[in-house]
Amino acid sequence: METSRYLLSILVDDEPGVLSRIAGLFSGRGFNIDSLSVATTDDPDVSRITMATTCDAQVIEQIKKQLHKLINVITVNDLTEKKYVERQLALVKVHAKPEKRAEILRIVDIFRCRVVDVGHAHYTVEISGDSGKHQAFLSLLKPMGIIEIASTGAIALAREMGK
């Protein structure tokens, strides 16, 4: 079956071991996690996990059901079925030789990124956007020489419709 990327937004009880239950479910059943992002919500007893996974339609159905079966999982929302806003944050440290500095800044400007640290031979750039934007940005910076990257997983919320 054809595989595609799914983005799940999962609300869970904010309790010790919940993340390990979810990670264990994925490893034990051979499901794949592309990225994972966890933080509390406005309700201190509830955390939101945003998870990206690549699989086929039958597997995503099992993933959603199995997640829902975990006692500490409150809701499982498949954002891929609806319109949603997705963001991922990355810090990219790139070689900045004098002759390349202007070009890097142009790219940063085009992508509406920000330079958050500057040295004699590097820039550290903050980028926020969906995974497509990240890929495009990194492919342009690559020829300059990327030193290192730190990236979060995707986070996302469904768009409110018709309001």
Partner: protein, 563 residues
């Protein structure tokens, strides 16, 4: 009222209607055991190995239709429960396992007899808890029982640090648990019910496939009603045996790898399967691509993950088996009965023909006992009324095939996980739950040795269990695979060097009988069953007998190896 954690634990267990727990003490649980012996209305059965406690609690659940409880200490006590917990998880058996734990201040310090049992059992429990606050102890215990027995049942583990058990706190009976993240759905969708009735009307060759869910939701009566109203033949998984009377003319026998010819052929030729409380395990489907090629499938299950997991179904229904069958029956009663049984005669005739041409069979000669003969005689002598537990392997399959279960909750076996050593402690648990019932463990000479120490538990507590050993001096099921698929190279399966089971029984204070002559099988059974106390009956049987029919792993159900 101030109570210690240990006192709260005992109080909460009793409040759940549990009268017997199976346990083994250790440093971390002394406080609990010290408290338990002060309560005449809570019996503690001291097992001889923690694995035995969990299997006994499992069988206690199944026979008593309540929640079994096991109590063990930290570290090795806790790790010894893992096999039993995994078995109960695979079979969806409600159970609560309480483990002692090192004091909270030592957790994470690699203390003596410390193990992260919550981490270890996370994938094989329905849920588990580490209690870190004595204020939450009572509510956690109540929640553990609630989760274990509601929805799709399963084992729940509660890890209890020693300081929590010793803490004194003000006790209040907690309110009924309400979890925002756990609300099992018992009621089926009405539209789907109408669809089921229409599919029954449209079917010409329907089959009901019953599983453990029918037993655990106590839906045998409704299932039997459905079968009779639609004149629909019934097969079952291993876990579903007893859900439908094994002596009813509509009974097809068990389905799957060692299912009957007519059950497997019926699935291969039917046009409708009504699957109730089953999960389409690989042992019943054979090759999935060739499973029921002509059939539409209705699947009823309380657990949405069971639906569409292995087999695509045309009519999924998430709901309690009993409630759903009641809805179906109510709607069927409003239909013209003739429309529910269109063309049923030719289908039932075809099935009868399969039964006549290829029944379950074995050839009992005069010189050596056939294991199937022992089980069939056991069924006759006990008039099918005994609770049968089994070990795992050939003994389990022969018990399933030849003890024609008429009643639910009378066949107690480790179905999903297939645990050797299950049968003896399970028989003890069943006997503790149903002291008036005859309880027989159908065992092999291999697996009986895996928890043989529990003989002492049975004898000490006067839990009179009868053990029938089908003794072929082989690890028989593996030997059978070696015979069929490995050129009869019997690597590591010959266990001729065995204890004398009669003397072994006597050493534990039980009685032992040996039988080597087919003519004496019935007498030995009668003598063994009539002898008071725990009894081993050692039947020396044909060494290289195999279980037939057999669907080779990965084969289609209709491609069986026959005798």
């Amino acid at each position: 009222m101030k109570l210690t954690g240990a006192q709260i634990l005992v109080k909460m267990i009793k409040a759940q209607g549990v009268d017997t727990i199976f346990g083994y003490p250790g440093g971390a649980t002394i406080d609990i055991h010290d408290e338990i012996v002060r309560h005449d209305d809570l019996r503690h059965i001291l097992v001889r190995h923690e694995q035995g406690a969990v299997h006994a609690a499992d069988a206690y659940s199944r026979a008593h239709k309540t929640t079994g409880v096991a109590l063990v200490t930290s570290g090795p006590g806790a790790t010894n429960t893992v096999t039993g917990i995994a078995s109960a998880h695979a079979d969806s058996i409600p159970m609560v396992v309480f483990c002692g734990q090192v004091p909270t201040g030592l957790i994470g310090n690699d203390a003596f007899q410390e193990v992260d049992i919550v981490g270890i059992t996370r994938p094989c429990t329905k849920h588990n808890y580490l209690v870190k606050n004595p204020e939450k102890l009572a509510a956690t215990i109540q929640e553990a029982f609630y989760i274990a027995r509601s929805g799709r049942p399963g084992p729940v583990l509660v890890d209890l640090p020693k300081d929590i058990l010793q803490a004194e706190i003000e006790f209040q009976m907690p309110e009924e648990p309400r979890l925002r993240s756990y609300k099992p759905n018992y009621t089926p969708n009405k539209k789907q019910i109408a669809k089921v009735v229409q599919m029954v009307k449209d079917a010409r060759r329907p089959v009901i496939f019953a599983g453990g869910g029918v037993i655990s939701s106590r839906a045998s009566e409704q299932l039997t009603g459905l079968a009779q109203m639609g004149r629909i033949p019934v097969t079952a998984s291993l876990m579903g045996l007893g859900a439908f009377p094994g002596t009813d003319p509509l009974w097809l026998g068990m389905l799957g790898m060692h299912g009957t010819f007519r059950a497997n052929m019926s699935i291969g030729h039917c046009d409708l399967i009504i699957a109730v409380g089953v999960r389409f395990d690989d042992r019943v489907t054979g090759n999935i691509a060739k499973f029921a090629p002509h059939a539409s499938i209705i699947q009823i299950d309380i657990d949405p993950t069971s639906i569409h997991k292995n087999i695509p179904v045309q009519c999924p229904i998430v709901g309690d088996c009993k409630t759903t069958l009641e809805h179906i029956l109510a709607l069927m009663e409003k239909q013209n009965p003739a429309q529910l049984t269109v063309d049923r005669d030719p289908w039932l005739e075809q099935i009868d023909q399969w039964k006549q041409t290829t029944p379950l069979k074995y050839d009992q000669k005069a010189d050596i006992i056939k294991p199937q003969f022992v089980v069939e005689k056991l069924w006759e002598v006990t008039r099918g009324q005994a609770i049968i537990t089994t070990e795992v392997g050939q003994n389990q399959m022969w018990a399933a095939q030849y003890y024609h279960f008429d009643l639910p909750n009378h066949f107690i076996t480790s179905g999903g996980l297939g645990v050797m050593g299950f049968g003896l402690p399970a028989a003890i648990g069943a006997k503790a739950a149903c002291p008036d019932k005859l309880v027989v463990d159908v065992a092999g000479d291999g697996s009986i040795q895996m928890n043989i120490q529990e003989l002492m538990t049975a004898v000490e507590n006067c839990l009179d269990v009868k053990i029938v050993i089908l003794n072929n001096r082989f690890l028989g099921m593996v030997r059978q695979w070696q015979e069929f698929f490995y050129n009869r190279a019997y690597a590591c399966t010959n266990i001729e060097n065995a204890p004398d089971f009669v003397k072994l029984a006597e050493a534990y204070g039980a009685a032992g009988f040996r039988c080597t002559d087919p003519a004496c099988v019935e007498d030995t059974l009668r003598k063994g069953l009539d002898t008071p106390g725990t009894v081993i009956m050692d039947f020396v049987v044909e060494r290289e007998e195999s279980v037939y029919p057999m669907v080779p792993a990965g084969g289609a159900l209709t491609e069986m190896l026959l005798v």
